[in-house]
């Protein structure tokens, strides 16, 4: 199964048309695919809170958004998630590379990894953890749920999901 293609197809099936990204090595493949897929408007952002602002605007413009980012960004965006996405009841699927999990080779990545789920739980953000490639089949239902609830959703994708480092 091509995970990247499965992700894009789930996004398209759920009428996501606006995607913003901040790179992570683990996300390189999916970002490249988004850039080259005519079904999506891809607007790279320089920081993840900026990206969430773009997504808020896109949602109000009538286009379903998605942000693709690394888990370190959960730390960057706490205020934006609470004061923008949640305060205004906006849906936002966040496809997040979950660095610092089993197989990680860069020790410092574990420092934010241990805070990631705790921060998401503190923010009452609905959170899903993809550990095996076949978990991608749940993305369709998660996206549907995200737009139905008009809430942010975190989809944590660890190294094992992406096939190891």
């Amino acid at each position: 199964m091509d995970i990247n293609q499965a992700i894009l197809d789930s996004l398209a099936k759920n009428n996501v048309e606006f995607v913003t990204t901040v790179p992570c090595k683990q996300l390189a493949g999916v970002i490249e695919k988004v850039e080259n897929d005519k079904r999506f408007m891809h607007v790279p952002s320089n920081k993840e809170d900026e990206g969430m602002g773009l997504c808020a605007g896109a949602f109000m413009g009538g286009k379903r958004p998605c942000i693709i980012m690394q888990n370190t960004a959960v730390g960057v965006t706490v205020n934006t998630l609470a004061s923008l996405t949640q305060f205004y009841n906006m849906p936002l699927p966040m496809l997040i590379s979950y660095r610092g999990e089993l197989g990680e080779r860069v020790a410092i990545q574990a420092e934010m990894a241990v805070h990631t789920k705790a921060l998401l739980a503190q923010l009452n953000i609905q959170t899903y953890h993809f550990h095996k490639p076949e978990d991608v089949t749940e993305l369709d239902a998660i996206l549907h749920h995200t737009f139905m609830t008009r809430k942010p959703t975190a989809i944590l994708t660890d190294s094992n999901f992406w096939g190891g480092y």
């Binding site: 607007v43 605007g57 923008l84």
Partner: protein, 187 residues
């Protein structure tokens, strides 16, 4: 002239336009002097006014005006390269540059010192950057609205504030009535 006078002068020009307004006093002033359903008041997340406006402009047809400030642009300086490289000709970014963090008590920002936001915007690749004085704001805005080019306006003014009430609208109410206006304009 201070920011609240610029906003007061702009209210007739902004009538029925989609306006995304910066956090704090700018939103409170606009709300007090010219509330309308097509105003989106940011009540949190300093810095994201221009990002919300760009996302909105890129995804629908109607004109979008972001009313931002020098302090919040400095907070999210990465927005200018994104704007420059993802051109939306229905987007107008008005940066009211009073050289201070107005909402927090007019502490000075660097734009009142050596930093020129107009030059920063140009260096970031923005094509149509206009620096003007407070007195020219209405005419510059009228021209930008009548035109068909993305415009970045840096409007210099004095710092200073007037007393204004806080906005008591709920977030989803602001968002819902704003989105109804977006739909109406794109129907």
């Amino acid at each position: 002239m201070i920011r609240s006078e610029i906003i007061k002068n702009l209210v007739p020009v902004l009538k029925d336009q989609l306006v995304v307004c910066n956090i704090g006093l700018p939103s409170q002033e606009l709300h007090m002097m010219g509330d309308q359903p097509s105003n989106f008041y940011m009540l949190g997340t300093m810095g994201l006014c221009s990002s919300i406006g760009l996302g909105l402009a890129l995804t629908q047809k109607a004109k979008v005006i972001s009313i931002d400030g020098d302090g919040s642009i400095l907070t999210n300086l990465g927005t200018l390269p994104t704007i420059a490289n993802n051109v939306a000709h229905n987007f107008i970014l008005l940066i009211i540059d009073n050289g201070s963090y107005g909402s927090t008590g007019d502490q000075p920002t660097y734009t009142g010192m050596k930093t020129s936001l107009a030059k920063v915007a140009e260096a970031c690749g923005c094509d149509n950057v206009i620096e003007c004085q407070a007195e020219e704001a209405v005419n510059v805005m009228k021209t930008a609205i009548a035109g068909d080019k993305m415009t970045i306006i840096v409007c210099k003014c004095e710092s200073g504030n007037i007393p204004v009430p806080v906005i008591e609208l709920d977030g989803p109410v602001i968002r819902h009535r704003f989105m109804e206006e977006v739909k109406r304009k794109n129907a």
